[in-house]
Amino acid sequence: MNFFIATLITPLLGGFLLGIIRTPKLAAKLNIFTSSLTFLFSIFLSFEVLGKDSLDALNGWFHLDAYNVFLVALTAFVGMTTTIFSKPYMQHELEIGRVNERRMRLYHSMYQLFQFGMLLGFTTNNIGVLWVSLELATLATVLLVSLYRTPASIAAAWKYFILCGMGIALALFGTILVFFTSSTILGHGNEALTWSLLYAQAGQLDPAVMSIAFCFLMVGYGTKVGLVPMHAWLPDAHGEGPTPVSAVLSGLLLNLALYALVRFKMLVDGSTHTHMAGHIMMGFGMVSLLVAAMSLHKQRDIKRMFSFSSIEHMALMTFAFGIGTQLAAFAALLHMTVHSLVKSGIFFTVGHAAQVMGTQKMAEIRGLIVHHPGIGWGLLIGTAAIAGFPPFGVFMSEFLLFTATLESYPWLAVPLLLGLLIAMGGLFRFVQPMVYGETAEHAKHVQVNMMPVYIHFGLALILGLSIPLFLSQWYHQAAALIVGGSI
Amino acid sequence: MTSFFFQLLQALLMVVLAPIAAGFVATTKARLQNRCGASIMQPWRDIRKLFSKEVVLAEHASWIFRFTPYVVFTATVMAASVVPSLLLDTPLSLTADVIALVALLALARFFLSLAGMDIGTAFGGMGASREMTFSALAEPAMLMSVFVLSLGAHSTNLTTMIAHTLSTPLLIQPSIAFALVAMLMIAIVETGRIPIDNPTTHLELTMIHEAMLLEYSGRHLALMEWASMVKLLLFATLIIDLFFPWGIGGDVNLLTIGLALAIWLAKLMVLFVVLAMIEISIAKLRMFEVPQYLGTAFVLAFLGLIIHYMLEVTV
């Protein structure tokens, strides 16, 4: 059977079905089932690509190569574990009255539609459809950010909507400019928007137009990645929504935006034969890293703090892709994978911690390790993982990135290290009192499911110790592709 | 020789037709408002009456006060006489530069403002300050609008510009459309019509142009009033020349000139009817709204300039 269609249709159908089902418990179970099915199909899809260079489907409308195949599987996997986490979590939120049944229905159906948008974005071969799917994924989550209907969450959702709307409009303009120059070579139809054909003809695209287009695309898609100075929406949106939404926003949506940006970078590099795109990305990445690391210290809300950590890591990835060597690209791809796993795991833990203590303010969360050792340990391990401690995967990718920087731009290694250390300091400064401080009396007992968290951290550990062969092959191939091989 | 004669005829026509033009506008307004209105010759009768009246001067009037009506009238008539209305190529056509035109009108305005302040009455000073404020904003807009047109002809000489417009094929040029709207807005300000200034008002606090004339009487007042009517005819002819010049006389023979005269009068009538319709349908703007009005005119002219480069100049 055509696994492309299966992987995409499942969340779409699930979304529509969940829009009709009224009982939250049944909806949660259907949610888990749909996501698991999607994950299964994506695994089969990955097997199909195994051993081949790339896979096209439906007359070239969809395209899987080494770069996006693991991202598809990752998205489906994190989507599945998030639904497992979300079932007891949202049940608790329903019980304490932060959401009602109608909003739960919205939550479940929008979640699956978001998944659909993400998977469509990763698998499409058409840069126009890529834009449409990214916008679709954003729209699906906008209503979810304001799910709790508090003033802060509505303000956050509005900010998210407007800022990302502006960014994505700029990205559309960049796409139009790319279409403008490609239509002179490939005609006015859909071929001129097909990424694989564009990549083959990249040398013939007009460099001046592509440079201008990349500027617009950088600012546009960069807004969705969360690069400074377009990041203002990110801490609010990730901090105010329900935790499963924060997890998928941080772990998955940012990846899609960065993926889109890198696809365009590949086109621009092929057209201009200069390092302009790479240098722009490095500049944005470095500035975002430093700003995020320093802003982290000023936070008082736990989710906002970790969302600044997301900005920091996306900045690292942007910087890595910008360097343009194969080692750096490998590091970035590995980082994409482990960051999604660890960050979503952390958000799961944080969500439970907030439920237990009844607040998201870090000053009021204390002594987790005493009354909820599972959450305490999870937070500690997760913070260590994301800060870049060995033997977790993040250490591996950051070390490779550091090596790559020393190879190509040795003087940039200093600010890189500085940013990483400042961020690490900030994270531990806040997490240590939360985990070990004196116990607060008002800690509630909540039914927690830490399984997804352990699975995520375990996977990050495995990736840090030894990357499986097929995965490292994909990383190598994708790195070669990104840096500038042939399709 | 004959061209000199026609040059003189053009100048004379401007001066003689000016009160009739003002009368035409007033009568059309009245008819549109369902009134009978005075006859078209009424302004002529008023001027004739004023010439026969005695001049009464204030005790503190200086030589500027007595000198101004002659300066204003002469400058305005000079400006009007070089604007081609019947014949395109006249002996004085080299001097028909728009910037020179604006300079002549500025000279007239300068003396008018001085005279307004000369006696020392409050209303005169008020009128002078308003006039100067609005002209400071209006002149750049007018020049900008003219520049848009001069870009095509590569010259600000009226004759050259008209010749250029006549020789290029009929095109829809958005920049000229913008310049036309801006010019119409500015012409209303410069000639002191509604919605900027009510020429028939008797309330001193709403006056701009009239306030500077309050102290004048007799032949001085006649000259000043005549000058403002000539200015109205001048701007109307300017707009017709810049934007709708078809029909203007090329060579010096009686048939062409006669035809040019008829066409010019017809265009003037259309323009004045439009002016009358604008005057009866819009209320007068309050003083603090006028700078915004002028700003809009400037922006429109500037947009015309940008659009000329964006759309009409092919790289």
Binding site: F179, F180 | I172, Q173, G295
Partner: protein, 225 residues
């Protein structure tokens, strides 16, 4: 209709689009902003239809009809309903006075002209002259989004950006492929629906449609004060 004549008319329509973008920035009343926005949608549909007629691309006719229905009728009607229900008839409040806004608008227009003009020469389409104008319209609509204090004008600015992008697509490429156009139109429709829902949420929670009120509820989250 000869090609040269059609090109002139399209250039004229481009000039009108730029004028509408400036007018959107200069309006003081909410309802007049809405009227100008609707006019922009109509003009856009007419331009698309004209380009479709002169280039013979029938896909563009479908886009033109879609634009007319969605951006000329449906969206203005939805916004008008929201404006009426929320009683937001009053003034458009902006961050700087209109003079400053217009000066920045002119600067933005010159900037986009400077950037896009060199690229126009590489195109052979008859609509290529309008590329710089379309870019200017996009940036002007973004300026409108930035400098307004009320939520509704931000939304109208966002929708005006989408309009200008459609115009840019026509000018640069005689329309994107139909699949993409439909996708974009669908996104815009969903976005408008979500905006509509949002307005009521905002009004119910904040009792005002001003951005400052919303931002104030987020301010205490940052910094040790």
């Amino acid at each position: 209709m000869s090609l040269a004549f059609a090109q002139q008319i399209i250039d004229g329509m481009a000039a009108l689009t730029l004028l509408i973008s400036f007018s959107l920035l200069a309006q003081h009343r909410m309802l007049s902003v809405l009227h100008w926005f609707a006019a922009q949608g109509w003009l856009l549909a007419a331009t698309a239809a004209l380009v479709a007629y002169s280039t013979g691309e029938s896909e563009l006719y479908i886009s033109a009809i879609m634009t007319f229905l969605l951006k000329g009728l449906l969206l203005p009607w939805m916004l008008w309903r929201v404006i009426r229900k929320l009683h937001v008839h009053r003034e458009v409040e902006s961050l700087m006075n209109s003079g400053m806004t217009v000066i920045i608008a002119v600067a933005v227009t010159l900037f986009s002209f400077h950037v896009i003009q060199p690229i126009e020469a590489t195109s052979e389409l008859m609509t290529r002259n309008s590329m710089a104008i379309a870019t200017a319209c996009v940036l002007l609509s973004m300026l409108m989004m930035i400098t307004r204090k009320k939520a509704i004008t931000q939304v109208i600015g966002f929708l005006a950006v989408e309009n200008s992008l459609f115009f840019a697509a026509i000018g640069a490429t005689n329309g994107m492929p139909l699949v993409v156009e439909i996708g974009i139109a669908f996104d815009v429709l969903i976005a408008a629906l979500i905006f509509g829902l949002f307005f009521f949420q905002i009004r119910n929670t904040f009792d005002s449609m001003e951005i400052d009120a919303m931002q104030a509820s987020l301010i205490h989250k940052d910094d040790d004060e």
